[in-house]
Symmetry: C2
Subunit: 201 residues, 2 copies
């Protein structure tokens, strides 16, 4: 049990969890790809064991990388969410606050409607502190509120509505179009109706 080399075991771990092993990285990527396809095809409640099978790994591997469905969902939509947030940040500078808000809300709805059942998962992620989707939900919520407030201050949206309520309504619009053949158009139409009704008078 003699320590023959420098003992580094007690040093603070500065670099965070060390990088994944090469095979682990490969498997992780495969899982994300398989999950993306499965969610696209069968909705957000696609069978996880199936995803593992398609990815060519055991189910244990899937659950080690992604302990919950939400974790997998978060990984799958990571890029899209990042893009959405960037888009939001840009729109915060746009001259027409009302139009900027509308544009971003549209993009948000498109994102939520990416696959069936995603709306529900996002709601859970919003409510559950410990969900792996929670962070993303909070970030999107923040972006939402800023764009809404700006629109309100610019007089484009009635000022007597709470952001939380508007969030719920926009989210509901996305949810309401679940399973529709012309989902994109329907969502657009409903969002327009909703926002039209929220204009200042």
């Amino acid at each position: 049990m003699a320590i023959t080399t420098h003992d580094t075991s007690a040093l603070a771990d500065v670099s965070g969890p060390r990088a994944l092993r090469a095979d682990a990285q490969r498997n992780r990527q495969r899982l994300i790809e398989a999950a993306h396809a499965a969610f696209q095809q069968h909705g957000a409640d696609a069978s996880l064991d199936d995803i593992a099978r398609v990815a060519g790994v055991g189910s244990g591997t899937l659950y080690r990388h992604f302990p919950t469905r939400q974790a997998l969902l978060a990984a799958v939509s990571e890029d899209a969410i990042a893009a959405l947030l960037v888009h939001g940040k840009q729109l915060c500078e746009a001259p027409d606050a009302g139009a900027a808000m509308h544009e971003w809300f549209s993009a948000l709805v498109v994102h939520i409607t990416t696959f069936d059942g995603f709306a529900d998962e996002l709601r859970k992620g919003m409510e559950d502190e410990h969900s792996e989707l929670h962070g993303a939900c909070m970030a999107m919520g923040a972006s939402f509120d800023i764009l809404l407030r700006r629109a309100q201050e610019a007089g484009a949206v009635r000022s007597d509505v709470e952001p939380t309520d508007v969030r719920r309504l926009v989210h509901a619009v996305a949810h309401a179009t679940e399973g529709l053949p012309d989902r994109a158009q329907a969502a657009d139409r409903l969002l327009r109706m909703l926002l039209d009704g929220l204009r200042s008078r």
Copy 2:
């Protein structure tokens, strides 16, 4: 194989399916009560086998009486739906078409929010021809459309919106409040916001 009495087997069955046997009727009732309690407590996706257990019958009995979850849900909410439809019929005569519509939509939302997950089941029932909930959904839809049209004709609601879209939005409002501690108030507030936005200008 001699036929010794009058052969009635080929006669048209005029009386429909004969009345349930006494024990079957009892079990049916018990199942409905157990289901009601379970749905109230655990939402519309409560375990069916549990419901059977609580009702004191085998799971086979449950599935014979109610082949699907929707069938059970339909039986459980039969009375409430009937009442809602009567209420709707009465409101069709009300002088203020706008107020009548609002009142009924409120009652509808209350009904949809009876238990968690019910909104989703109702949507499925709306879409699926063969759902045991389909009939009720259609009836409620019809009532909805009449009250909306009346409000539109009275100039209380903008005339450029389709009933189908408004249905979806009202339904979405009900769904959006799922799991909220102050569900009733929240639903009321959101519905008010929505309908306020749909007024003619």
